[in-house]
Symmetry: C2
Subunit: 450 residues, 2 copies
C-alpha cells in the first residue's frame, strides 16, 4: 500500500516511519494505541480525493486525523490502514470581515486561527480548550466554555467541502445566514467523526470580540448550592459567555499545580460579554442576587484581565494536570449533558457514583454538561472496572433525565455502547443504514460511532 500511495502522491506525502506511525496511533484518551500501516499528508483536496479513491477501490480503512487532541479515541486507526493527517492543509484561505466569516483548510488549529483573527476584532467561538484542528472540531461537533452563549461547532459553520468514499467532492451548505434549500447535509456531516466524509475546506461563522467583558468567581459551602446557582442563572434568562462548575478537589489541584490562589470550596466561574459596561453591570447584579439566594460564601466580581487569562488557561489544562498529578494512570472521562433543571440532580448523583474511585468533577455547567475525570490503573482490571461502572451509572442517569451520553467529546470508541440507550434501536439502525449507504465498504474511520 505504501508503494502505491507513493506512486499516487509522491514520496514526500507518504510515510511509514515507525515514529510517525507511533505519533498517529493515539489521541489524548485512555484508549489503546493502534498503529496505522501508513500515514499520508495531503496538501490539497485533489490529494484527498486520490487517497479516498484508492482506499475505496482497495477497501482500505482511512482515518482522518487532525491535532490528535480528542479524548474519546475518535481518530485512533483501530483497523489499521491509512491515517490521513491534515497537518499540511493548514492554510487560512480568506477572511470576510464584513460577513464575519473565514474560509479555512481543515488542518488550521483553533488557537492559531483566533490569534490570526484578533486584528479583525473577530473570533471563532466554540472553545474546546485544547488546540484542536478545525477539521477535528467539525468532525466531533466540538464545543466548550463559550458554547453556552455562542453555540457548538455545528452552530458556527456555513459551508464545507466534503470528500465522500466514492471520491466525489460535495459542496455542502451555503454562505447565506439561513436557508431552507434541500436536505440539511451540513449537520449530518458535522459530528459524524469522519465516518461519512472527509472535510477539505470550511467556511466558519465568526463573532465580534465583545466591547466589554466581565469575569466573576463565586464560592459556595456545598456542591448543591453551587450547581443550583448555575441552573438558576440560566433559567433566569441571563446570557453568560461561560459558566463553569469546579469541585473542591479540582481547585485544590489547580492551586497547587498551577499556582492559583482560589478559595478551596465548590466554585462557579463566569464570564459575561456585552456591548457596554452598564448592561453587564445589570446582569452581574442579578447574578449576585442569585448567588446570595444560594448561600454564597464569597465572590470576586471583577477578576482582572491577567487573572482571568490565567484562570481560563488553568481551567483548560485541568485534564492535563490531572494526568500529570497521577503518573502512570489513565483517565476515563464522563461527558454527559442534561436539561439545565436536571443539572443539580446529575452532579449530586455523579458525586455519589464516583465514591470509591479517584475522580474530579467539573464541567460546562451552563450547558448542563458534566465532566467527571475518573483516574485509575488500566492494567488493574478490577480498578478500571470500577471506573467503567461509575461512568456507566452517570451516563445512564443523564439519559434517564432526557440528556445525552456525550455533550462534546463525541462517541468515538467509548460511548458507542450508550447510543441505543439514548436514542432507541430504530434510530441507531437508521444511523447504521445511512453509514452503509454513504460508505458501503466501511472505509471511513471504521469502528467508531456505531
Amino acid at each position: 500500500m505504501y508503494n502505491e500511495l507513493v506512486k499516487i502522491l509522491g514520496e514526500n506525502k507518504v510515510s511509514k516511519g515507525i515514529s510517525i506511525l507511533e505519533q498517529f496511533s493515539h489521541d489524548e484518551s485512555h484508549h489503546e494505541w493502534v498503529k496505522p500501516d501508513v500515514v499520508v499528508f495531503p496538501e490539497s483536496e485533489e490529494d484527498v480525493v486520490k487517497v479516498i479513491k484508492f482506499a475505496n477501490k482497495n477497501k482500505i480503512p482511512v482515518t482522518p486525523y487532525g491535532a490528535g487532541s480528542s479524548i474519546e479515541g475518535n481518530p485512533i486507526p483501530v483497523k489499521g490502514g491509512i491515517v490521513l493527517s491534515f497537518q499540511n492543509m493548514n492554510k487560512i484561505l480568506n477572511v470576510y470581515p464584513q460577513d464575519m466569516m473565514v474560509e479555512v483548510e481543515p488542518g488550521v488549529l483553533y488557537k492559531d486561527l483566533n490569534k490570526y483573527l484578533k486584528t479583525y476584532g473577530l473570533f471563532f467561538a466554540p472553545d474546546p480548550g485544547a488546540n484542536a484542528s478545525i477539521g477535528g472540531m467539525i468532525a466531533n461537533n466540538a464545543s466548550g466554555t463559550r458554547t453556552v452563549k455562542y453555540g457548538a461547532t455545528k452552530d458556527n459553520v456555513y459551508e464545507i467541502n466534503v470528500v465522500i468514499p466514492s471520491g466525489e467532492v460535495l459542496k455542502i451548505g451555503n454562505l447565506a445566514r439561513k436557508s431552507s434549500s434541500g436536505y440539511d447535509l451540513l449537520h449530518l456531516f458535522i459530528g459524524s467523526e469522519g465516518t461519512l466524509g472527509v472535510v477539505t475546506k470550511a467556511y466558519l461563522k465568526l463573532v465580534g470580540r465583545p466591547a466589554e467583558m466581565s469575569a466573576c468567581i463565586a464560592y459556595f459551602n456545598s456542591v448543591e448550592d453551587a450547581v443550583n446557582t448555575v441552573a438558576q442563572i440560566i433559567m433566569a434568562g441571563l446570557d453568560p459567555a461561560a459558566l463553569e462548575f469546579i469541585d473542591v478537589n479540582v481547585i485544590e489541584m489547580l492551586n497547587k499545580e498551577e499556582g492559583l490562589n482560589l478559595t478551596e470550596k465548590p466554585a462557579i466561574l463566569m464570564e459575561f460579554h456585552g456591548s457596554n459596561k452598564i448592561s453587564l453591570e445589570e446582569d452581574i447584579k442579578f447574578v449576585v442576587e442569585i448567588c446570595k439566594d444560594n448561600n454564597v460564601i464569597s465572590y470576586d466580581l471583577g477578576v482582572g484581565l491577567d487573572e482571568r487569562e490565567r484562570l481560563w488557561e488553568a481551567r483548560h489544562k485541568t485534564y492535563e494536570v490531572i494526568l500529570r498529578t497521577n503518573p502512570g494512570k489513565k483517565a476515563l472521562i464522563v461527558d454527559a449533558a442534561v436539561p439545565i433543571s436536571k443539572y443539580p440532580e446529575l452532579v449530586i448523583f455523579a458525586r455519589e457514583a464516583i465514591k470509591g474511585v479517584k475522580g474530579y468533577i467539573f464541567g460546562h455547567a451552563g450547558d448542563g454538561n458534566l465532566h467527571a475525570v475518573l483516574v485509575g490503573d488500566k492494567n488493574d482490571k478490577k480498578e478500571w472496572e470500577k471506573l467503567e461502572i461509575a461512568n456507566d451509572k452517570i451516563v445512564e442517569k443523564a439519559i434517564s433525565l432526557g440528556g445525552t451520553a456525550t455533550g462534546e467529546h463525541g462517541v468515538g470508541l467509548g460511548k458507542r455502547k450508550f447510543l441505543e440507550k439514548e436514542y432507541g434501536k430504530n434510530t441507531v439502525e437508521l444511523m447504521r443504514l445511512l453509514k452503509k449507504t454513504i460508505d458501503p465498504n466501511n472505509i471511513l474511520n471504521p469502528g467508531k460511532v456505531l
Copy 2:
C-alpha cells in the same frame, strides 16, 4: 383505499368528501391545486403509524399537511393518494418553564402556541408571519422576522418523534442543550418537507420574553441607502431582533389597504430586545449613526406598542394584501438569501430584474433574505413567463453570490430546478440517495424537494 383506511382508523378519522378534498388540495401558493383521494385525520402517533404502514405496503403517496400556509406548494398532494392532516393532533402536551422548553403535537398552531406561552413569559421565536402549524414549520425549517436574532426553526428544536416509511417510530435528538452523540438526524429531518418522515411530537426551545423592547423605523431617499444601512447594522455586530426592508410600493399599498400612515419612501423596520433600557438605548444610538451615514431622511425611534403591533401585523399580511389588491392574479415569490455584504447588490439587481412585471420587494433584510412578490395572470402564458424569468434571474444571482435559492419557504415545487445550481450535481445526488434509502417506495410527499 377509503374503505381500508376506515377499517384501520374508524370512520370519523377518514374523509373523501368533495369539500374536504378541495380544502387539502392546495396551499397559499400559485401552484396548481391537486386533490388527494382521501384525507385522514390521525389523533395519535399510533394512528400515524397505521396510515404509514398501510400506505407503504400499498405504495400509496402520503402528503403530511399542517395549516396549509406554505407558499411553495410544499403540501400539495401532487400525486394524489392520502393527505395526512394534523388538525386533530394539536395539543400542547407539557411546558417546562425551567428548561424553557415545550412539548407539542405537530398540529399546534404557531400563534396559538405563543398566546398560550405568554403567561410563562416565554415564546417560540421563529416567526413565519402566517399562523403555520409547528409540524409544518419543522418540515419547512420555517423562519421569519425574528430569525436574525433567534435563529430559524432548525435552531429551536431539541427532539422530535418521527414516523419513517417503514412505520417505525424514531426518537431523534435529546433534551440536553448540546450533544455530540451520533449522527445529527434531527437536522436531516427538519427542513426535509415531509419527504423523509412524519413528525408526531416535538420538544421546542423557547426564549424568554425580553424585559425591554424597542421598535424603530427609518426612511431613505433611495433603496441603496436603505439596504446599505441594513448591511452595516449587521456588520457592526449589533443584534437586532428584527430588521426588515420595505420598498416604496409596498408601503404605499400598506398605507392604503391597512390604514397605516408611513412615509412613502424605502424604509427599514427594526426591533431590538434587551434586558435593560440603557443597553437598548446604546444600541439605538449606534443605529442612528449608521442611518445618518446613509443619508436617512427621517426616523421614528420610539414606535409605541400599539403602533408596533399594527406595523408587524401589516408586515405579516403583506402577501395577503398583495393578492387582495390584485384580484384574479397569482403571485410568484422570490425567496433568495445571500451573505449580508452582498445584500445591497442583490436588492439592486432584483429591482432591475423585475422591471416590466408587477413586483413588490421587501424581506428579512437582516438575514440577507430577499422577497420579491411578482404578480401576474397565470393563464396568460407570456405574462407568467416574464415572472418566471425574473425569478430565475434573481435566484441565480443569489446563488452566484454564495447564497441560497430559498431562505425560508422551502424547495417545494417551485425551487427544485435550482437545487443543482446551488449545491452541484454530486450533492443533490446524495440527497436523492438518502431519500431512496429512507423512503424506497417514494411514498412520502412525492414530487417535492428533489
